[in-house]
Symmetry: D2
C-alpha cells in the first residue's frame, strides 16, 4: 500500500490544530499523525504509513472503514440528489431503513419496538430515553451503575460514572439519579443484585422509586465489564417489580460487537428502551436512535426534537449494512470465530502481564494489566509498531481491543501479534527496572 498524495504538509497541519482546535481534543494526542485515508481495518496517515485499526471509532466502525457496498450506495444517493437533510420528514431512504430494520432485526427477535430517530449522537438517544422513562412513570430517579458511560450532556452525564467527565460540568447540576454497583463491582463473591434488591425493597433506603434502570450489558468505557445473564435478568425483574423501565444502552456493545446484533440477544430480556448509535449507520456516519416499546411511545410530536434527527445518508448506508451482514447467520458465525481467536490470544497476553486479567465478551475484549500507566505504555508501543489501540477502565488499566468485526483473520493475527509483543517488551522492561531498583 502506498502513500496518499492529497495530504497537507504535516507540519502546517499540526500547526493549525494547535492554533485553532480546542484543548478538549484527545485521541489526536495519542496518535499524533494526520490520517488521510481509511479502508477496512486500516488507516493511512499523510506520510503514507498504514495502521491496523483496533479502535474502530470506539466501536463505530464494526464493519470497518469505507465498506465498498456502502460507499457505492451512498455515492449513488448523493449523485442522484437523494435527500441529505430532511428533518424528520418521510423519505424513501428512511422508509427503506425502517423496513429493513423491522424485517431483519426486530421481527426475528419478536421485538415490537418503534424507532425514534433522535439527534445523531448516542448521548442524545440516552437523554431521550431518560426523559421518556420519566414521562412514562411520572418519577424522576434513574438508577445507573458504577463505571457506566452514557455520554456527557447534562442528562446523560448524570448517569455516567467517570469523574473526569463529570468534572467537566463545573458546578453544574447533575441530579435525579442514583448510583448502584454493577455486576461484580465488589468482586466475584458479592451479589450486587441482591444488594440492589435490598436497597429498593427498603422504604427507608433513601433511593426514590425509580423511573428506570439504565445499564450497558458490557461496559465499554468502564473497563469491559460484562454482566452475567443472571444479573441482567435480575435487574429486569427488579425493574418490573418496582414499576421502572429497563433501558439497555447498546451504543457501544450493540450492532454485532458482542456477537449478536444486540448485546442482550439470547439473554431472555425485553428492554423497554434501547438507545443505539455508533455502528448503526455502518459507515461511521452520525446516526442514533432509540428503540421504544409501543406502550411507552407517549411522545407528543417533536417533544424531543433535533435538527439532525434522521440522517438520510446514514439511512442509506445502514440499510446496506443490515442487508449485507444480517440477512443470515454467516456474519455472526464469522464474528463468533474471531471472538474465540481473540479470547485465546488475549488469555495468552494476560499471562504475560503479572496479574493480567481477561475482560469483556465477544469482540469487545481486553486485558486488565493492573495500571493505567502500563496499559498506556503498551498502547504507545503498539502505535509505534503500526497499531491503533486504546485503553479503558476507571484508571485506564484495560488494553481494549475493538477491531472491526470484518477484519480478515490474517490481519487480526498480525495486530494481536503487535499487542503481544508490546506487552512482552513493556513488561520485561518494567521487570528489569524493578529488579535494578531492588538491587
Amino acid at each position: 500500500m502506498t502513500t496518499t498524495t492529497n495530504a497537507a504538509d504535516p507540519s502546517a497541519t499540526t500547526d493549525i490544530f494547535a492554533r485553532r482546535e480546542s484543548e478538549a481534543r484527545s485521541y489526536c494526542r495519542g496518535f499524533p499523525v494526520t490520517f488521510v485515508k481509511a479502508r477496512g481495518a486500516r488507516l493511512f496517515d499523510s506520510e503514507g504509513r498504514g495502521y491496523i485499526d483496533f479502535l474502530a471509532g470506539c466501536s463505530s466502525l464494526n464493519y470497518g472503514h469505507n465498506d465498498p457496498d456502502m460507499k457505492r450506495a451512498l455515492v449513488d444517493h448523493i449523485t442522484g440528489d437523494g435527500v441529505a437533510h430532511g428533518l424528520d420528514m418521510h423519505t424513501d431512504a428512511k422508509a427503506k431503513f425502517l423496513e429493513t430494520f423491522e424485517r431483519l432485526i426486530l421481527k426475528p427477535r419478536g421485538m415490537d419496538h418503534r424507532v425514534q430517530f433522535t439527534g445523531p449522537t448516542g448521548a442524545n438517544a440516552v437523554e431521550a430515553a431518560m426523559k421518556l422513562a420519566r414521562k412514562v412513570t411520572g418519577r424522576r430517579n434513574i438508577i445507573s451503575f458504577t463505571n457506566g458511560f452514557h455520554g456527557v450532556t447534562a442528562g446523560a452525564l448524570s448517569c455516567t460514572g467517570n469523574s473526569h467527565h463529570r468534572g467537566g460540568a463545573g458546578s453544574g447540576p447533575l441530579c435525579g439519579t442514583s448510583r448502584m454497583p454493577f455486576d461484580k463491582a465488589f468482586g466475584d463473591d458479592i451479589d450486587t443484585l441482591h444488594q440492589i434488591e435490598v436497597m429498593l425493597d427498603n422504604p427507608s433506603s433513601g433511593i426514590d422509586a425509580p423511573a428506570a434502570f439504565l445499564l450497558e450489558v458490557v461496559q465499554g468505557e468502564g473497563g469491559l465489564n460484562a454482566a452475567s445473564m443472571e444479573w441482567v435478568q435480575g435487574i429486569e425483574k427488579l425493574a418490573r417489580k418496582h414499576g421502572a423501565l429497563l433501558i439497555v444502552d447498546d451504543i457501544q456493545a450493540g450492532v454485532g460487537r458482542t456477537g449478536g446484533f444486540f448485546s442482550f440477544d439470547k439473554m431472555g430480556i425485553n428492554p423497554d428502551l434501547v438507545p443505539m448509535a455508533k455502528s448503526l449507520s455502518g459507515m461511521g456516519l452520525p446516526f442514533a436512535c432509540l428503540l421504544v416499546r409501543p406502550k411507552h411511545d407517549i411522545w407528543t410530536p417533536a417533544e424531543h426534537n433535533g435538527t439532525f434527527r434522521g440522517n438520510n445518508h446514514a439511512f442509506v448506508t445502514a440499510t446496506v449494512a443490515l442487508e449485507k451482514f444480517w440477512s443470515d447467520d454467516s456474519f455472526a458465525t464469522d464474528v463468533a470465530e474471531k471472538a474465540l481467536l481473540l479470547e485465546r490470544r488475549l488469555q495468552r497476553i494476560a499471562k504475560i502481564v503479572p496479574g493480567g486479567r481477561l475482560k469483556g465478551r465477544g469482540m469487545m475484549r481486553g486485558v486488565d494489566v493492573g495500571s493505567g500507566e502500563l496499559a498506556s505504555e503498551i498502547c504507545g508501543e503498539c502505535f509505534r509498531n503500526g497499531l491503533i489501540i486504546e485503553t479503558s477502565g476507571a484508571h485506564g488499566e484495560v488494553v481494549k481491543v475493538l477491531a472491526p468485526l470484518t477484519i480478515d483473520t490474517a490481519l487480526f493475527r498480525e495486530g494481536l501479534d503487535i499487542v503481544e509483543a508490546a506487552a512482552a517488551k513493556i513488561v520485561a522492561r518494567e521487570t528489569e527496572a524493578a529488579e535494578m531498583a531492588a538491587a
Copy 2:
C-alpha cells in the same frame, strides 16, 4: 423537473412509518408525503411532485440542497476512501476546514477563537458551552431568555423556554438557570436590559451570580424576535461587569442567515463562546462546533467528548461552502438584496392579515399573524400549493420564511406569491366566517 422513479410504493411507505416510527415524529405530519429527491431550493416527493422549500431544514440548508460543488467534493472524498469517521483524530479534511475557517471567517473578523468539535448537534455544542462557562467561572447559574430555544437535552433544555419541550422532561430536573425577558419581551416601551441590570445589581434579587448569559441574537423557534444592537451590547457589558461569559447561540441565525456569517457581525460584540451547527456543514450533514476564546479553553483532553465529534464528510462540504460563499462579499451582497425583497413582500402580506406584524431580520423573516391556528392554516394552504413552510413562536403564530439563501430570485418570488395568496385566501375565509357568525 420530472417525477423521480426510485420511489417506494407510497402506501407501504406510509405504513412503515405509522408502524415503526415513534410518535415523536413531527414535520412528516404537516407534510404527509415521502420525499425522494432534493436540489437547490426544491424537494420532490415519491410521486414526482416538486415543492419550493421555504423551510430549508430549519436553516440547516442555507445553501440549498445538494450543492453540486459540495456533492462533487464529498463523492471524491468517499470514492478515494477519505476518512469518514475519525473520532477526534487529526485528518487532512479537518485541517483544511480549520485553515479555511480561520482564513475566511475568524481572521477577517479579528476573532481569536478556537474551535471545539462537539457532538454533531446544536444542543451538544450548547451543552459544551454551558459546562465550559461553569468550569471557567466556578458558578452555576446560566441566564437564558424568554422564548429562547437551545435544544432538548437536559442542559440545553434548562435554557429553552418552550413548555412543550420542557414538558418532555417528565419530572426530570431542569435547574441551575435563570430566565430573563428578551429584548422587547414586554413590548417596545419597556427596557428589559435595564430591568436585567437592576436584577443583577440587586444582591437580594435572588439571581445568583451568573456563569454566563446565553442568547440568540435573532430567536428562531421563539418567533423571529430580533434583538437590537444596543440591547445585545448591553448584555455583553452586563456580562463583563458581573464576571459572566457571553454565549451567543448562532445555530439557527448564523452562517449567513441574517446577512453576515455570524448573526452578530457588525454588532460590536465579542462573544466568549459561540455554539454553531445547522448550516455549518453546508450540505445539511450533522455537524456542530463551539467557538471558544483561547483564554477560556481550559478543557482537559476529552473532558467533553462524543463519538461523532468531527464529522469528516462535513469537514469536506463545509470547506467547499466556505470557499464558495465567503471568499468575497458577493454572496453577502446577494443575500442582502434578497432580504430586501423578502422584507417588502412580507410587509405586504402583513398588511393583508389584520394585526399582522413583520418579524425578524435578514433572510430570517416572518409574519406574526396573531394566532397559531391562522398561521397553521396558511402554511397548510401553502403546502397544498407546493410550498413547504412552517410556523414559529410561542403559540406558533408566526409564518416563518427560511428559504435557502441561494434560491434564485424568480423561484423566491414564486414562493412568496404562494404565501401571499394563501394568506389572502385564508384571511378572506376567516372574515367571511366571522361575518356569517355575526349575521
Copy 3:
C-alpha cells in the same frame, strides 16, 4: 432605671463568646454588651444600662418583652407540671390555643384554614408550605420575589433573595424556584404584575407552571417594601388562573405588625397557605405554624414532622396574647395611632437625609437613607445613645423601626428622638466631610 445584679463578669462573658460561639453570630457584634433583663420595650445589660428596643426580636416581640400576663400563665403552667414537650400529642394547652385562634382570628375573618404545627421556626413553616404546594399541584416550580426573605434552610433559601444567605449554601443546590420582580421592583412606573402575567401566559417564557406564589405583603428583611393591594390581588388572581397556590409568608409582617392580625387583612385575598412564626407565641418563644385551607390539607400523618412541633409553653402564652390583644379592636386602634405617629416622625427624618425615602406600612416602617454605610452609622449612633435598632434592605440601606406594638407613646417618642438626632448628626458629619473633601 436600676442596674441588674445577677450579671456575670462582663469581661469573662465576652471571652466565652469569642472562645466558643460560632462566627455565624451576628447581632451581638452590633450590640456588644451582654443583656440580662428585658421588660416591655426595654432591654438591660449586665452593667445595668437600659436600652429602648426598636428591634423587638425582628418582630418576634410585638407585645414587648415578658408581658406580665403571659409570664404569669407560663409560670403557672410550669409550676403545675403542665406538659412542656408533647410532640404532636393532644394537650389541653394546644386545644385552648386552637379554640382561641379559631374564635378570635379565623372565624371573624371567615377563614376556614386548619393549623399545622410545624417545627418552631419560620423557615420550617415555609418548607412545609412549599412541600405541600408541590404535593397538591404535582408541580415543582415555586415563584418567589426579588428581595423576599423566607429563611435559610435549603427549601426556604431557594426562595430567599439575599445573596449573602444564598452564598452560605456553598455549592449546594437551590433549585425548583423562579424569581419574579416584586411590586415596584423597577420603580413606580413599571407594572411588574403585568410583566409577571406576560411571562406566565407565554408558553415559551421558560417559567414552568407554578405550584405556588410565595410572597410577603410587606418585605421585612428585603427593605420594608410594601406591596399595594392591587398588586397582591393581582398575584392571587394570577395564581388562580394558573392553578397555583397562593402562599403569604406572614412571619415578620403578621401578628399585628402592619395593623391587622394578618398583613393581608382587608386586602380581599384568601391565601391558601400562611406560614406564621415570630410573634405568634406572644413572648418570643420558638413557635411556628402553617395555616392550610382544608382542601389542600392532604398531608398523611407525620409526613412533615419535627420534634418540637407544637411548643406547649408557646401554646400557653399565645393563648394569653390572643385573648389580651385580639378580643376587641382596642389594640388595633392603638397600633394604628402609633403607626401614624411613626409615619409622621419618619417622614421628618427622611427629609433630614438627602434622598431619604419613607418605607413600609403600619408599625413596620423605616427610612431608606441611600446607603448601607450611612444606615449603619445611624444605627451605631442610636446604640451609643441607648436605642437598639437595625438596618434592612438589599444593601442594608434602610433604617428599620420595629418597636414593640405595645410600647408606650412617651417611650416611643423618646426612641424616635434618638433616631432623629442620630440621623441629623451623622448626616451633618457626612456633609461636612464632603465639603472638606471638595474644598
Copy 4:
C-alpha cells in the same frame, strides 16, 4: 397520683383538633387522649389517667418531664424578667450555658468545637452542617446512609432515607446527596465499609467527591441500628482520606441516650460537625446547636441565621441539666445499669416473638418483631395498659423503648412488664389465629 382537674371537656377538645388541626398530626392518632400534666416518666390525661412514658418525646426528654430543678431555674428566670428572646445577642444565660458546656462536656473530651446556635430544630442544625460542609470543601455531595433520619426540610430531607417523608416533598428537588449502605445494611456478613471505600476509590463510580459523610451512630427512626466502633472509625478514616468532613448527627442518640453524653464517646473519633437538639435543653424546650471544629468555622456573620436561634429559656434549663447530670460519673453509671436491665428484659421479649431480634445500644433499645403490623399491635396493647411506646424502622417493625434515663427502676420494670405482657398476648393471639387458619 390522682386525676387532674383542669382538663378541658374531652369531647370538645377532640372536636377542635379534628376541626382545626392539620392532617399532618400523628402521635395523637396512636394516643387519642388529651394530656394535661407530666412529671418525670409519667404523663397524665384529661381524665386523670396516668401513663408511663417510654417515648420521652422521641428522646427529647432524657431527664424526664418537668425536672424540679430545671422548673425552678426557669420560673426564676421568667419571674425576674430574664431575657426570653434575644436573637443571637449576648445574654448572661447564653454565657452560662457556653461556660458550663465547655467545662463539663467539651474540655473533658478534649473537644475544641465551637457552638453555633442554629434555629431550634434538629433539622435546622443538620441544614447548617450540610451548608457549612459544602462551603468548607467547595463540594456539593453529602453522603448519607440507608435508614438515616435527619429531618424533613429540603436539605435535611435529601439525606433522610424514609420514603414517606421524602414523598412529602411532592415533586420538589432532593439532590446533591449520595446514599450508602449503613453498617450491616446487607446483613452481618457484608462489610459495607469496604464497599463504600471501593466506591469512593473508583473514579468511575459516579459518586462525586464528598463534602461530608452524615451519619447517626445509632439510627433512631431507622430501626435502632447501632454501628460498630470499627465501622464508624472506618468512615472517619474514609472522610479524612477523601477530604470530606465527618458529621455525626447526635440529635436522637446524644445527651446520654446511649450511655455517654455523645453517642460517639469512647469511639476514638473526632467529628468535624455535630448537630444536636432534642434533649439538649433538658426540659424539652426547642433548642438546637451545631458543634463546629474551629478550623471549619468560616461562617460570615448571620450567613446561617434564624429568629429563634439561641432560646434563652433553654439556655437556663440546659445549664441546670449539665450541672445536675454531667458534673460527675454518677448519672452515666446509673444509665449504664438501667441499660443492662433493659438489654436483659428485651432479650427475654425478643425470645417471645418468633424471629424477634434485639436492636440498639444503651437506653436506645428495642425489639425487631418482624413486621410493622405486629409491632403496632403490641404498642397499641401497651397503650391500653397505660404505657406510651412507639415503633421505628423502615417498616415500623421495631418496638422501641426510649424511656427517660432518669426513670426509677421500679417504674422502668413496671413499664417493661407491660411490654412483655403485651408481646406475649399479641403473639399468642397471632399464633392461635394462624393455627385456626391452618386447621
